[in-house]
Every structure is written in structure tokens, then in C-alpha cells.
Amino acid sequence: MKKAEHKTFNNSLPKTPSGIQGFDEITVGGLPKGRPTLVCGGAGCGKTLFGIEFLVRGATQFNEPGVFMSFEETNEELTKNVASLGFDLEDLIKNKKIVLDHVHLERSEIEETGEYDLEGLFIRLGHAIDSIGAKRVVLDTIESLFAGLPNQLILRAELRRLFRWLKDKGVTAIITGERGDETLTRQGLEEYVSDCVIMLDHRVNEQTSTRRLRVVKYRGSIHGTNEYPFLIDENGFSVLPVTSLGLMHNVSDKRVLSGIKVLDEMLEGKGYYRGSTILVSGTAGVGKTSIAAHFAEAACKRGERVLYFCFEESPNQLMRNMLSIGIKLETWVQKGLLQFQATRPTFYGLEMHLATTHKLVNEFKPDIVIMDPINTFVVGDKELEVKTMLIRIVDFLKANQITALFTSLTDNHSALENTDVGISSIIDTWLLLRDIELSGERNRGMYVLKSRGMANSNQIREFIITNHGVELREVYVGASGVLTGSARVAQEAIENAEVLTRKQDIERKKREIERKRKTLESQIAALHANFEAEESEANKTIKTEQDMIKRLEQDKMEMAASRNAAKKSSKNKNLKNN
């Protein structure tokens, strides 16, 4: 009750939480409190179950006892039918939480003889309500009265009175009605119950059935107007609203490595964000599964738990194939860190897939979920449904901080960036694999198309699958475009040769210079030698000349001396004269 009051705090219209998973989110709190609600739909769409669950949840979770008035099934049948959904009605009846009242009306036993009213039904219902202080009432299916009572005028007037009376009683009621051809219900009950109308539907599309719920009308309240898929499993009803989780999940700035070194480097060297959603898309045979397997192996090595949904291959086949590129997944399966879940997408409807996903994730509590591939869900024209389903899966996983990796096969004819299921907008990191056909070869290229919240590399890497896993190489990007494979090798050879030639050139030039230098040096040496020779020659001449001068001097001296000996006196005379 406290919960109910809390939920309806902001709404002017008081509401009664149904307790049905997901339904209270669509209707922002539940059914209108103290008013009747019409639940209509075709045969086998779950009207009765909706009613029963409303009562059982009310009795067990909100302490609101309830009355179930059945016009079709007997109490025993009803108890047995819902026991398979885990509802123990007998116990609830014993504890005066629920009253089952089977109203049996046999047309052949009845004769109309004048004026009457349905006060008997009112009294009976009133008695049942008062006996346990019921707050909730389900009438299933009141339209049976139309078969039992011939006078429609009276019946319609009485039904109008009944719904008025239920309102006056202040009970929250569910009235079920069979769907009519043109109208919501066969007998036009929607005329009388105008506060809230819920439509259940069970459609088969491409051989798989989908249950849907829609709030047709909710007077005085906002509500989700979409058709919401729901499912009925061993836990009862669960409506899966797209919006139930919203965009309020916590984000993590922790990173997880992808298991491929170069890929991590492309993502700032740290890998993906934890709790993000990764899409690996590409054409057939480009190695999407290999990337997924790398990621799984890397996670298991860190001791994390991985849940691997394979929709195309059997786990054994997948493990064998991955073994050929050196990824040993079997070890991790044995250690219990990796769990495969292999189902054909066509095996059951989308909602069931969603439900099994929820269930398995809740059981296994993985850190990483891999779905390979997601586009196999698209059979026929269910694209929109697949998208909403995937959005719900993504929301669910994000809310649980689980990193999700999806692979998607891209049609060869459509644009690479176009995923079949159109979920690109909900993807955080998108790796695009493409094949590059060039010179008679088909090579793989990979790039990060987007990666929210990180400065990812814009480079195309060549993606090579080796016997020891996936390798990413830098591709040749040159004047003639992107080259991969042998074209890249050839281009590299050409480049190498060019480099070699250049190197040789340089060597040659160096040698030439050296030679020139040496020539120059030898010339200089020769000049030096010449010069030296000339110099010594000159010196010699100079010496000779000097010697000559000396000799001449000496000769002169000697001559003078000899003259002096002859004319000493004259000389002296001369000296005296001087």
C-alpha cells in the first residue's frame, strides 16, 4: 500500500498497482483506483490470467483481497489452470485473501416472465466483497450474461447499474470482454466501462506468435500508447515496455580490453567501455564471430563471465571453428566462465527470446553478453519489432552494467553502414568490417565507425585471420588508395626496392664525393709538392746568389787587402787625408 501511495503521489488520479511486471510502468502506477477497467481481447489472449494475476498480486503484495467472479470456468478449473503459473489459489482462498465465485447460467433452465433486475448478482457480489473486505474485483467474462439472459434491454440497463455500483463500492474492478468484429467487445461493454480500456492481442506473424497489450484509453491519466509485447511464462504475466528502464542507467568509465591488441590501440589503447554496447557489422565471412570469440576469450582470461548467444551455429561448431584460429573456448566452458545458448531465432517469438535473455542473464550473471548475429531475428517484416526488442535488451544489459557485443551481417547490396535491424543509434562502439576486393583478391579491412566517449582511431586496418587469432595490420594508404593483401605486399616490395635504390644512390654519391675530395686532396698535395720543389729551387738559387754575393764581397776584400799591402802608406795617407 505504501508503495502504491508513493507511486501515485504525483498523479491526480489515484491508482491501484496491478503488480503485473511492466504494466504499472506503462500506466504510470496501475489501474484507476476504485473504478472498473475493461480488459478485452480475442480467445486465448490472456484476459483471465490478467485478472487472476491482478488479484493474486493484490492479495500477496499489496494486501488487497480480491473477488474473482467467473462466468465461464469453474473454481476447480481455474485453480488448476493458474497453478501452472505458480499461483496457489487454494491457499489464498483458505486465508480469505481471494474468493472465487463461479456463476453458472443455463439458458435452457431459464424462463422470462416479466420484469426483473440483476439484484441477485449485485447481492452475491456484494456479499463476496464484504466477506473478505475485497478491494479488487474481476468479472470474467460478464458477456456470458448476454447468452444466458434474453432480454438485452434489461441486461444493458443492469450492467450500467453494476458498473456504477462497483464504483460506489470503491473497488478496483477488471471486467473482461471478448473482442467483437468491429467493436472492442462483442457486446459493446466499452460503452459502460469508460475509465480505462486495455486491449490484449495474440497475433501470429511468420509462424511465430506474439502477445501484445495496449492501453486503448485511460481517462484522467497519461499512459503509454504503444502496443507492448508481453509474455506469459511460469512467473505469470510480464509486459515488457520499451520505456520501462529509460535512459537513466549508471555509466562506468572502466574499460575492457577487446582481446585484439591493435584494436585496443585503435580505441585509445584501452578497449571498450564496460557496460557499453558494441556492434560488429560486416558482410559474410569477414570475421565477425572471430572478433566476438576474441572478446569472449579475453574476458574469460580475466575471470569474467560470458554468456554467448549463438543464433546460427551450434556451440560445438563454433568452438571447433574458433580452435582453428587458435582460440580455445572449450576450456572456459568447462571452467564455467563461458556459457553458450544456442537457439534458432525462429524457434520462438521475439518476446520469448527477450524473456529467455532476461532469465539467463539473471541466472548466469555474466559480465559480457554476446549475441551472434542479431539480424537473423529479422524474418519477414518484423524489423521494427526486432529493433524494439534489441533496444530493450540493450537497456536491460546496460542497467545491469553488462558489456554487450552484437554481430550483424550486412547485406552485400545495401550500404555497409546500414544494419538490417537499424539499431545503430543505440550502439556505443561500432566496428565495421568490410572486404576490399583488389587485384583478384578479397581482403578484409576494419575500422571503428564510431565509438562514443573516446578518441578512436580513424584508420582502416587490414584484418588478417591467422592460426593464432586475428591480427590487424596497417594498410597501405598511398596515391593509389588503400591496398591490402598481396597488393599491399607488392606495393611494399616496390617501396622497398625504391628505398634500396635510393640508398644505393646515396652510397654512390657519397663515394663520388669522397673520390672528389681525394682528387682535390691529391691535387692540393701535388701543388704543395710543386710549390715545395719550386720553393727549394728558389731557396737554392737564393742561397747561390747569396753565396755569390758573399764571394764577391770576399773577393773584393781580398783584393782590397792585397792592394792595401802595396799601398799601405798611401792608404794611411789617405786615411790621414780623410
Binding site: D101, I110, G114, G120
Partner: protein, 108 residues
């Protein structure tokens, strides 16, 4: 239909000696209830020669008693005996329908 009718007539013959047990369900002394009661009294006197008992059950006083006979409409007259159980709803103003309902052919 005809075989059904024959069977009922046999029934009627077999139980003619027995008393007719009738129950009239009402909810308070509403005009409809009073009309029904008056009409019933008249029919019984005319058709059943005193070999009958009528029990009037007011569901306002004993609401749980309506469950047994699956009473929805009021007033309802239930023929408990002779079997099979027949139900006649309404204020019994249409005598002919009442007699058909009770498997009593009107005396010509």
C-alpha cells in the same frame, strides 16, 4: 425437443402425487417482489391444487443462499421439485410463460 418434452411429462406424472417445492428469491419487498408473490400465489392456487410449498428467500437477509441456485436476476422462482430444476425469472406477470417454465400446461 419432442423427446425432451415427453420425458418431462413422464416426470410430471411420476411426481404428481408429490408436493411441489418452489422457492421464490427476492431482495427486499420491492414492488417487483410483491407483484411476483401475488402472481405466484394465484398460479399455485389455480394450478397446483394445494400440493405445493413455497419458500420465500430474501437475499438481503441471507445473501449466501443465492449461490446454491445461481441466482442473478430477481425475482426468481425456482422449481426445486419435481426435478429437473427450473428457473423462472421476472415478476411472473406472464402466466402462460410461468406455466411453460414450470412444465405445467395450462388447463383448458
Amino acid at each position: 425437443m419432442s423427446s425432451n418434452r415427453e420425458r418431462l411429462e413422464e416426470n410430471l406424472v411420476a411426481t404428481e402425487k408429490d408436493k411441489w417445492v418452489l422457492r421464490l428469491y427476492i431482495a427486499g419487498k420491492t414492488p417487483k417482489a410483491l407483484t411476483a408473490f401475488t402472481n405466484l400465489e394465484k398460479i399455485c392456487k389455480e394450478q397446483l391444487n394445494g400440493k405445493f410449498s413455497v419458500e420465500v428467500i430474501d437475499l438481503l437477509i441471507n445473501p449466501q443462499l443465492g449461490v446454491e441456485d445461481q441466482i442473478l436476476a430477481l425475482p426468481t422462482l425456482v422449481r426445486k421439485l419435481p426435478v429437473p430444476v427450473r428457473k423462472i425469472i421476472g415478476d411472473l406477470s406472464n402466466t402462460e410463460r410461468v406455466l411453460v417454465g414450470l412444465d405445467l400446461l395450462p388447463i383448458n
